[in-house]
Symmetry: C2
Subunit: 318 residues, 2 copies
């Protein structure tokens, strides 16, 4: 009764063997997949750790994205969380809940995508779990090495700091709208929805340059700026003149008669880095100033007016 070529036909152990072979070892992998636990290097006696879940139909659609793309995205959003602490990603653990009738090639393509994205930062997959489920759910834990530096949290922004961003804003949100309306172009934003391009190198550079706070923009610029405002007890004042939409956003906005700035302010999932720096710091490559930190009750201002953003992305809201 099992479809040939399905994960059910391959079986759990066959699937695990096929998937694990796609993950290279690295110097950080002291014991790789295949035992009760992996062992990963933590050179400075600390490990940064983060977990995200991706649920089919909510965070990805198999008819909109290839398995390779979904694997890359699942890895990217977790690697970005580690990078946003100023740490170097070392390893992922990946839990995969999948239906027995899923093509085995989908699962191995997903593994290829995870491996490809990890390779961009020198990380790899060291372990995980595969279980049956009626729904595809991907759980990813990322581990990272702080290289002896303090973690760059959300709580260190101080009045007088500049606010800066590295990476794309609004591309993925534009791409999601394009796909949601049944289109497949403009291609640049659709591709950005499928596979984010976090500015990996910028996280470490920000930490080395003395960033006082940093966050991965996953909920939207205003929503994530609010996390910094609240954790640091400051006002984040953004200036729209410094938030010029990139050309692909302008193109997509023109097609839908949208204000491109709305995507820039509220679109998540590009995994840009939002950071604050003392005003005297020379910004690391890739960062551009988008505002400043003021004292006052924690809030986010855009051109001096309080902005609610999207209110943050409530995962139960849809």
């Amino acid at each position: 009764m099992t479809n040939p070529g399905s994960v059910g036909a391959l079986g759990e152990f066959g699937l695990v063997a096929a998937v694990v072979g796609r993950f290279p070892s690295t110097p950080d992998v002291l014991l790789g997949p295949g035992d009760d636990a992996a062992v990963v290097a933590a050179p400075d006696s600390r490990v940064a750790a983060s977990m995200d879940l991706l649920v089919e139909g909510r965070h990805f659609r198999r008819d909109w994205s290839s398995a390779v793309d979904i694997g890359r995205k699942a890895a990217a959003q977790n690697l970005a969380d580690i990078v946003a602490m100023g740490a170097r990603p070392t390893a992922l653990l990946v839990g995969l809940a999948i239906p027995a009738d899923l093509p085995a090639a989908w699962a191995t393509d997903l593994a290829d995508g995870l491996a490809q994205e990890c390779a961009l930062v020198g990380a790899t997959v060291v372990g995980g779990d595969v279980v049956g489920s009626d729904l595809v759910v991907i759980a990813v834990t990322a581990l990272g090495d702080l290289e002896g530096r303090d973690p760059v949290t959300r709580a260190g922004a101080r009045p007088g700091d500049v606010v800066a961003v590295a990476g794309r804003l609004g591309w993925a949100a534009a791409g999601l709208m394009v796909l949601g309306r049944g289109f497949r172009s403009p291609r640049a934003v659709v591709d950005a929805h499928r596979v984010p391009h976090p500015p990996y190198a910028a996280g470490r550079a920000a930490s080395l340059a003395g960033a006082t706070s940093m966050i991965d923009v996953s909920d939207g610029l205003v929503a994530d700026a609010r996390h910094i405002a609240q954790a640091s007890g400051v006002v984040v004042a953004l200036e729209s003149v410094r938030l010029l939409p990139d050309q692909p956003i302008i193109d997509a906005a023109a097609a839908f008669n949208m204000d491109p700035l709305a995507w820039v302010l509220t679109g998540g999932d590009d995994h840009a880095l939002l950071a604050t720096f003392p005003a005297e710091v020379t910004l690391p490559e890739g960062f551009t100033i988008v505002g400043q930190i003021l004292s006052g009750e924690p809030e986010v201002l855009v051109d001096g007016s309080r902005h609610e953003g999207s209110g943050g992305h409530d995962h139960f809201g849809h």
Copy 2:
């Protein structure tokens, strides 16, 4: 349209706040929940890491187990993986995919269960993720400290070693059958299905005593012994006279006209520890000898005959 008292009514951020408050800090928590990543101590510059998924309807049923029980079980099976490496569990990350109409109290009870089980070993929850889903899926990553010792893998068993077990065998499987047939007793085995009792202290003790291999019995004694046989390239020879079923298993077997030994050999989910030791070692407290390691093509013998066990628990098989 949102049910009062549901996670949807509470919202993602309200739920996270309610859940996070249930997790105490520990000396291993250098940065707790609330940032892009947590930071956990890794005193010997290595971290042991493992991940398991639990899917509603496959690994637990909300009508069979309380949320506290499910939280304890989710923690226990991951803590056991770390303990099976001879490591000390330090922290969990927990991803929770849940429907918006789930009662918020279910989610906070789950958190209480996670916290209670972690407290048994001095660990805590340091991070995670909450997302919407039509199905409850719980992803748990456990981290651990090897305390300067080598990890005890599955690959070190040598001919002449004794094979020993700490913890329960077959209880959870018996309990699952009782529940599956619509009963709620014998209570001891039903409770064992709901909340396993891994012999946490035995893992470290085995490592200190010089265990040559170790595995957490999650698939069943024979199936997990086969993992050691294959990884170590040896024969695991078990002796049924040393595998006397505990009284609750005997009672349950009598009620269903079953052979209690079948549960002992093939029942998983009690998270006993199966380990091998050089013959001259004084076994640590909690371990009893159940067989020996022989040379030969990797296989598992029970009283000299090859035993297929349950063939391992294939997660796509049901």
